[in-house]
């Protein structure tokens, strides 16, 4: 077998030579590099054209906003603006900029702020609605901006803390290629973006926070496969990863050299009920369904304990009504309520599930099983994300397993989306309508932050809890892991991360 060995030998030689060289090359290392593994790549770095998390999180590392959500997810903290005032009538906001520079060394001025916010409210912006309440801007001096609103709009401050309100240099206006080499005042500068592979970030030498970032370089590597991402962390090819599947969290926890955590993020899982359809038009039936679901059971068996049961369709955040308790797991009470509604025999129905989400698929199976026990037979229908939205929007469904997330730390966004009808989505397609909730929503948006606004939100949440247009399920945490040579990596309540706080030991 001469030919066989000749093949094998020459092939082996070529491969061995190749690897020897490759290993020699890869030994050259940067000064301090932090490598984060994520599951999806960013799509764009244009803040007014982003709606996917990977793009948003990347933008938050490159750009600054005037103010930003604190790491506790409750308060706003200074960003580019070192201080701000809101007039008592809620119609005038004045921001004072700190002495900050863009990554190209030019100072951040009032003109840059006005340009960026007008752009965010403009024709091309997907987020215009969030910035339109500001009707005029005035550059009082190079570091002071006065914004005027025609009518008071309390969520405005939170909207300004959104990534889409990122401050860009005015020169971006004339540069059609700006977002391939973006300039911002954030902690990092984009060095290279290999699409689908990684985002290479370098420390911004002009960053306004002294001593940050602590690392010279940061790489956000895209590894869509969960197992590969975990294996890469274990092999030391990554320093931290996000989106750890819950079923692997425990095992990873007990791995030497690796630490894990699960962050409370602004997210809520629920089942939408089509309140226009029988029998879901009856509040008793909707409450019965809530009593029939063993939420803690789902949290323990499917989410491995990484969630807390929910009381309503907004996440646990500022102004959350802590007096409310989740519907207890009580099949007898559920049956009694069904009987009161004239459905003692139960009924048959269908529930939509998003395709490709194995966690929600398992949750769907538990719900099916729980409801079977009170005589409600559920047929599961798996639909791909876009199709599920279209189906619920058209009103042609019974129940639909879904979730919602919040972009801001103020409940206004989720209340508007999941509780108010019509507003944007007819209470997220449940068609549930409560005049008092609508009234409170209008009032809340005009009331300055404080006890009065808190009371309004608490009443809204209590009414929705009672009206039960959803089966309220749980708030899922975001699991992440890091190697023990990393310090300060954390997923924030807003789901993003501040890599400027990361240190390598």
């Amino acid at each position: 077998m001469i030919s066989f060995w000749r093949w094998a030998q020459s092939a082996g030689l070529v491969i061995a030579l190749g690897f020897a060289t490759a290993m020699a090359v890869s030994d050259a290392k940067a000064e301090t590099l932090f490598r984060l593994g994520v599951s999806e790549d960013a799509l764009t770095l244009d803040p007014i054209a982003s709606s996917d998390n990977p793009s948003i999180w990347a933008e938050l590392l490159i750009y600054d906003t005037l103010i930003r959500p604190g790491t506790n997810g409750v308060d706003l903290e200074p960003g580019l603006a070192e201080k701000w005032t809101v007039a008592p009538d809620g119609k005038e906001y004045v921001f004072t900029l700190r002495d900050a520079k863009f990554s190209d060394g030019t100072p951040v001025t009032a003109d840059d702020v006005i340009f960026s916010l007008k752009r965010a409210a403009g024709e091309k912006s997907d987020w215009a609605r969030f910035f339109k309440p500001i009707t005029s801007y005035e550059a009082v001096d190079q570091r002071t901006i006065k914004m005027t609103l025609e009518t008071p709009f309390t969520p405005m401050l939170n909207n300004l803390a959104l990534f889409s309100g990122a401050i860009l240099p005015k020169s971006a206006e004339t540069d059609p290629e700006f977002f391939t080499h973006p300039v911002g005042s954030g902690p990092f500068v984009l060095k290279e973006w290999r699409k689908g592979d990684r985002l290479v970030l370098a420390k911004n030498p002009h960053y306004w926070q002294q001593g940050k970032p602590a690392v010279d370089m940061a790489e956000v590597q895209v590894i869509s496969e969960d197992n590969s991402r975990i294996l890469k962390l274990q092999a030391g090819e990554l320093d931290a990863i996000i989106n750890v599947p819950f079923n692997q969290l425990k095992q990873l926890q007990s791995t030497a050299g690796i630490k894990t955590s699960a962050a409370d993020v602004f997210r809520v899982e629920f089942v939408q009920l089509n309140t226009k359809k029988k029998p879901f038009d009856d509040q008793k039936v909707r409450q019965a369904l809530n009593y029939a679901i063993d939420k803690q059971g789902i949290v323990d068996s499917v989410i491995f304990g990484n969630a807390v049961p929910a009381v309503s369709s907004i996440s646990i955040m500022r102004y959350h009504n802590t007096d409310l308790k989740p519907y207890a797991y009580d099949p007898d009470k559920a049956k009694a309520l069904l009987a009161e509604a004239g459905l003692a025999e139960g009924f048959s129905t269908t529930m939509l599930l998003p395709a490709g989400d194995s966690t929600l698929r398992n949750v769907g199976a538990v719900i099916q099983d729980n409801l079977q026990k009170i005589g409600v037979k559920v047929e599961l229908q798996t639909l791909e994300g876009g199709a599920q939205w279209d189906t619920t929007k058209s009103g042609n469904y019974d129940m639909s397993l879904s979730y919602a997330t919040s972009d801001t730390i103020d409940p206004d966004q989720l209340v508007g989306f999941t509780m108010v009808n019509p507003e944007r989505a007819n209470a997220y397609h449940t068609e549930w309508k409560d005049d008092r909730v609508n009234e409170l929503y209008e009032a809340e948006r005009k009331t300055l932050d404080g006890p009065e606004r808190e009371a309004q939100f608490k009443e809204i949440e209590a009414r929705v809890h009672e009206g039960a247009p959803y089966i309220f399920l749980y708030h899922q945490r975001a699991a992440y892991a890091w190697r023990d040579n990393v310090e300060g990596f954390a997923v924030l309540p807003t789901s993003n991360y501040r890599l400027e706080d990361v240190k390598m030991k």
């Binding site: 066989f4 690897f19 290999r194």
Partner: protein
Amino acid sequence: MYLLRFTILRFVQMLPVLIGITLCVFLLLRVMPGDPATLILGRRGTAEDIARLTAQLGLDRPLWQQYLMFLWDIAKGSLGQSIAYRAPVSAIIMERLPATLLLVAYSTVLTVLITVPLAIFVAMRKDRPADLLVKGLFVVLMSLPPFWLGILLILLFSIKLHWFPVSGYGSNIIENIWYLFLPALVIALATSALTIRSLRSSIIAVATADYVDTARAKGLRPGTVMRRHILRNSLVSTVSVLAVHTSWIIGGTVVVESVFAVPGLGYLLVSSIFTRDYPMVQGLTVTFAMLVVLISLLTDIAYALIDPRVRYD
């Protein structure tokens, strides 16, 4: 010069194929429920926001206009603007094309390196234990999901032995070859299961031909007989199998790409379908179609090289 004429003819023949494919993809995409503007803005936008974005993307025009615009873009050598990336489709495809091409070429080379020696080896031991063992082994390899085989190889070669990186692509050609070894091997092992069997049976058939006996009678050494007379005549059918398989790999490496985090076109296609990035899916389909034609062209050239009787007039 016949080859040049043949090549041009091939590309001309491709035009109706291309129109057929683009029309199918175009219509299928529009039939799918869910539109890009709703997917982008759904949870956050109002109905007016969605209508504005739909108009901005040109998706409010009649279908035939949209299709003609798409064809016009191709004629101009552009593939339009990606909805998700807000950047030219061709630029994004070109960024990712090298990884896919390298993976396809690499796995094809590995397939040949695995197939030829093993097929000769088992053909000469027909129905003996070694033959059955190899056959059994590759049936198992072929039936393993690539996902699982990939994880197994990572566990062995990356985690235990540290020979190869777990995943990724690398930043220069030498790194690329190092990083892509395991993913290419996963594809090559599955492909080899087919090609080894095809080549084995051809070798066995050809080995009984009269001209092989003649060659042996001339006193040629067994190795020379194998190389010059048996192998060369056996290869044609295997090249066909390999070519069909390679064409399939171009768009079908999604699983391998995601396990090994290779920034290739397969994964881009799947995620673009989910985001309803119509121009991107259309552009990728055109690219795949052209690559498949290119591969069949290369296959024809390979036939000509293997078998001098093959002529394309």
